[in-house]
């Protein structure tokens, strides 16, 4: 029993990810019947990228909510969804990515698949990591706001053309279970399956390619990392600048130089690897 508890403690993040994803996607009947949950909890946005058309989803996807409000006639600004993002971001920053995002969990699990060689980053990493900010501004804000039809209605561009979470957790299960939807698939579906396939294949060799280069939600939360209530600090008296934290960081962050980098998903590998215990979680209340 003690051994089991020790094992669970060592995998605390994975256990949290699994429990949170299972809890927020616990409408099991939806998967069997090919339909989605319609309860009142869907008024509330979950913190991570979790398609609200996933048959199991109990909450709303914050990124989908943001785009749909921008796209709707008459609003021009998404106060409700932005409010959720401000609160979650200001408290946790990218802890959400590391612990509470189902699509992050999926990538983590895929990365565990053994492969002849794993890569620390893509060749154009420095440039590519800005892509998520471009997608945020263009596909999540500007296009839904301004690319509208004759009635003034826009559409959720990121959901429609890119989001692999929607394809994997909503597109595939619903198309498999629902004959009417199956008859409606076409080029767009094939495109989204292709995007998903590339991300899945890349996830085998690189840690979390979607979170690093594409995810607009991670881009938003990353902006909060330096000011969030949960943040890291380096004890200058203890840090010996050995670079061990940078070596173990799968997101390729120089933790001892930039402990609150927008790329850090707060997995905590650096804290466990630090030989002097110099990386600490700052306490907001003293």
């Amino acid at each position: 029993m003690a051994d089991f508890i020790r094992k669970i403690k060592g995998r605390g993040r994975l256990v949290t990810q699994i429990l949170f994803a299972a809890f927020t996607n616990s409408y099991v009947r939806g998967f069997a019947k090919g339909r989605i949950f319609t309860g009142k909890t869907k008024y509330v946005c979950v913190p991570g990228l979790n398609c609200y058309s996933c048959p199991g989803a109990l909450g709303a996807c914050p990124l989908g909510a943001l785009q749909n409000t921008f796209a709707a006639r008459g609003y021009k600004f998404a106060f409700y969804a932005t409010g959720f993002l401000l609160i979650i971001g200001a408290v946790l920053g990218r802890v959400v990515c590391g612990f509470l995002c189902p699509f992050g969990l999926i990538q983590d699990l895929i990365y565990k698949i053994p492969f002849v060689r794993k890569f620390k980053k893509l060749p154009a990493d420095r440039v590519l990591k800005w892509l998520k900010y471009v997608l945020l501004v263009l596909f999540v804000i500007l296009l839904p706001l301004f690319a509208v039809d004759a009635t003034g209605q826009g559409k959720p561009w990121f959901c429609e053309y890119i989001c692999p979470s929607g394809t994997l957790t909503a597109g595939i299960p619903l198309v498999l279970a629902n004959k009417a939807l199956r008859s409606a698939i076409g080029f767009l579906y094939a495109w989204k399956i292709a995007v998903l396939s590339v991300i899945i294949l890349l996830s085998v060799v690189i840690y979390r390619p979607f979170c690093r280069y594409i995810c607009p939600l991670g881009a938003i939360y990353g902006l909060f990392n330096p000011i969030a209530l949960y943040r890291f600090t380096i004890d200058p008296d203890k840090c010996i600048k050995c670079g061990e934290c940078e070596k173990v960081c799968k997101m390729n962050v120089s933790v001892f130089k930039k402990p609150n980098s927008a790329e850090c998903i707060r997995c905590g590998d650096c804290r466990r690897a630090c030989p002097t215990g110099a990386i600490k979680v700052q306490k907001p209340f003293k």
């Binding site: 749909n68 409000t69 909503a170 000011i227």
Partner: protein, 46 residues
């Protein structure tokens, strides 16, 4: 709370105000309406 955390506290307060404003503008009802209907765009059907 130390001064370093004031920006986060301010953002949390603004976030709460935004949610209240969003509910008043009926945005919450729109989010709910979208979330309880199958999102064809999300699935890749259009």
């Amino acid at each position: 709370m130390s001064a370093k955390y004031r920006p986060a506290a301010v953002l949390i307060i603004i976030g709460i105000a935004f949610i209240v404003l969003g509910i008043a503008r009926n945005e919450a009802a729109d989010v709910y309406r979208k979330a309880i209907n199958i999102c064809l765009e999300c699935m890749g059907i259009g």
